[in-house]
Symmetry: C2
Subunit: 483 residues, 2 copies
């Protein structure tokens, strides 16, 4: 462990992050909403903490090694969430408690989008803007993490992508690879965001709302500037723009990159994960809209279809925007949607959950086990596309799945033990670990009603899910800290 190198990076990150407090200052001044002081203070605190961290070790230029990578990644989300919470705690309005401010901040940066704030519509514009920006930054962080960092760290089978990502492969040196990959993905991310802003604006949002919702859409974050979320707009065109961009943001950004480079949309179709993602999405959409129609949940076929389509994509990609109170839909549909969030987006997207590719591998492996029973002596490789998957990757995916289920179960029991009712506890943990946002029961609309211990457990769940379980858990094992 090179703690000084880690400290240097932390300092740099904080200084960089402090700069993101400045756009909200401009928003605040522009709308004269009285919250600028909070952001200026937060900016100064974050910058100073960053400087104090960086100055003593600024000459440490040793390379980051694989093992340091785990610490840096976990710190990225925890420390930035802590400083990112400052404006929520400092502003006159909403003036959140420490717990609530941290919850809102980590929910933003992990792109979970669970909120403890009720009365969004009355908040200062700068606070609203800042929440959306947190998600957008978190989304960018996740893509870099998923495409460049996790494959290097070998998390949950993601070494599968080691050879596929743009940039040279230097297994033990993280920095050059990350920089180069980040640059390539940055353009895709920015391009999608701009297109989404334009789409929302053309469909009828105000420029402010268009930017705000584009931020949380491409980040698959789900924060909105309105308590009613997307339902506030009551506008089918806006819903459809949302569906399109949520779906696109749920695709592997490295695949988007290939499409752009090869200038061919066929590249999407040649990708097994993409095809399976599309198939699952269509399946959930059909069952959801069919179920709503059957139960005549909304007044017309058109409404059942639009809300069903929107919620299926929104929950399935783990975005978590709402156009209808899906938590009050027939239990079967609500739980189907909640379960679909366990699959989540593609690897290398901003979506949460277990990820489509892992799910596909689990199914292929399960089929192989059945085939093995019939042909006990046959050598049967697991294939995705025309690629045979190494056993090591398959084992890592199994391990990931088992740990995911185990973590979910433990946190569910823990939350229930604090007295939260079972449906609320179940869905809150699911919505947090899958980085979905809204749940069922008492957390259908927001998380304001939960007690503080529950909120901290859910903060941990969001982080655990966002860091693909292993990255965080490995830091909690003695073997990591032993030399």
């Amino acid at each position: 462990m090179h703690l000084t190198v880690v400290q240097r990076i932390l300092g740099l990150l904080l200084m960089l992050f402090s700069v993101t407090m400045l756009p909200p200052v401009l928003v605040s001044l522009g709308y004269d909403d009285g919250a600028s002081q909070a952001f200026v203070t937060a900016f100064v605190i974050t910058l100073v903490v960053g400087l104090i961290s960086w100055l003593p070790v600024r000459r440490q230029h040793r390379e980051l090694r694989l093992r340091d990578g785990f610490v840096v990644v976990v710190m990225f989300w925890t420390v930035l969430s802590a400083t990112g919470a400052l404006p929520f705690a400092l502003a006159e309005h909403p003036r959140l408690s420490v717990t609530d401010a941290f919850f809102e901040s980590i929910s933003g940066l992990t792109t979970t989008g669970a909120t403890v704030i009720v009365g969004l519509d009355d908040l200062p514009k700068s606070i609203l803007y800042y929440r959306q920006q947190l998600q957008w930054l978190g989304g960018m962080g996740i893509i870099v993490l998923a495409v460049a960092v996790l494959p290097m760290l070998g998390i949950g089978g993601m070494q599968l992508y080691r050879a596929e990502t743009p940039g040279p492969i230097k297994d033990s040196k993280l920095t050059p690879r990350i920089t180069e990959t980040a640059k390539a993905l940055w353009y895709i991310y920015l391009g999608l965001t701009l297109a989404c802003v334009l789409g929302y604006w053309l469909a009828g949002m105000t420029p402010f709302d268009a930017v705000a919702h584009a931020f949380s859409t491409v980040a698959i974050g789900g924060f909105s500037t309105h308590d009613a979320s997307m339902g506030y707009f009551n506008n089918t065109a806006i819903y459809l723009v949302g569906v399109l961009f949520m779906f696109l943001a749920g695709v592997n950004f490295a695949l988007h990159f290939s499409v752009v480079r090869q200038k061919s949309l066929k590249v999407y179709w040649r990708d097994s994960e993409f095809r399976f993602y599309l198939l699952l999405m269509v399946l959930v959409i059909v069952v959801t809209t069919g179920g709503l129609h059957y139960h005549a949940t909304h007044g017309s076929f058109h409404e059942n279809f639009v809300h069903g389509l929107f919620q299926a994509v929104s929950i399935g990609t783990t975005a978590g925007f709402t156009t209808a109170e899906w938590h009050n839909w027939p239990g079967f549909i609500a739980i189907l949607l909640l379960f679909s969030s366990f699959v989540g987006g593609c690897a290398g997207s901003t979506g949460g959950g277990i990820k489509v590719i892992r799910f596909l591998l689990l199914i292929k492996q399960g089929m192989r086990e059945i085939t093995r029973l019939v042909h006990p002596n046959a050598q049967i490789p697991v294939r995705v596309g025309n690629k045979s998957i190494p056993p090591r990757v398959v084992e890592a995916v199994w391990g990931f799945f088992a740990l995911y289920v185990a973590s979910f179960t433990l946190m569910y029991l823990l939350l229930a033990a604090t007295g939260i009712d079972l449906m609320t506890a179940f869905s809150a943990v699911a919505a947090s670990i899958n980085n979905l946002g809204p749940g069922l029961g008492n957390v259908g609309a927001n998380y304001a009603g939960l007690h503080d211990p529950a909120k901290w457990i859910l903060c941990f769940a969001m982080l655990l899910g966002r860091l693909e379980i292993f990255t965080l858990l490995v830091l909690l094992t003695p073997v990591f800290w032993r030399h």
Copy 2:
């Protein structure tokens, strides 16, 4: 596939099974309960069907091959459940519908113990006796299945036990091995049953109830002769006898066999699975009794302890007897208990669930995956006790776990789609696939209130769980029927 050999075995099984209808006839005549005619009719029908099946192919003496094994095992439970349902449908009282009779019968033979009958205390003694006997026979079948058949078929990692079980190993010939193993285990099973009868009788049960409950205790079945289950007796001594024998029946019967042969109780302690089983059980007991005490659920510490102890062992082993309305306990305790049934008993016991050894392997594998992140180039074998586990076994266990979760999820969604409320659906599927019996919500006491489609789904779940998922699923794949 040698269908004629399979047909011959089926015929033999049915003729053998028809004989088990005769003891209830004696019980009926002894108590003069008026149900003897139903059993005589059922006996004749079963015998005749068996004869018709056996006669044309009685000279087929080819050996059973591995692949035929799957068909025989699945038929054992389905066909016997179908004919076993006859007395329930034929008797004047209770005169169940076809669905209910089949449900009750398969619930008995799979040792699930979920019942659709309300008013047990008023049923003819012979019907009561017959239900208990079904469980006892099912329990014997399961032990032979788990100890002798599944390891040969290589189901879900159970090839691990191939070398450990008594008897010679002839990989492709099933019959001699099964016969020899069955004989050895039969004595253990019978011995445990007799000891349990004695225990219950000394603790205060009537001889009839002692035999009846001993049958369903060593089978980890959970059927009772009273609507109030064990709670009817309101007798701590009886509860403790139950706890002891449920715990023993949850242990691998091959391990009991080793203990008897080596005449040393230390053999238990040398077994990794046994130690982990004990550890988990103690853990669940401590949390349950502690939780009941904290919530002051029952009137005294003594009551909280006794009921907590009994339910923890009863649910944890998947027996499913009740002394208290555990489904009305604080949600956290109820769901912890329900989850503990997913772990279930040891492999080679009469208990259901995923089985302790698989759970232990999953945890060891998960730890290995974490260690691998820190030491990416190390070769780390998975060990249980002083035995290194082959990768093929580990993969089979992963596959088992994933298919278990997938099957559970699909059946849960399916049941919810038929309109059953979410908690009832969740716990009913869990209690069925884990062969537990009672659930939460509307299936806390019995399954009488469910509609027929739900009952059929749950019948499938019981069978799927009892046959360790793969044995049944493999029959539903095209690859099995292809030459």
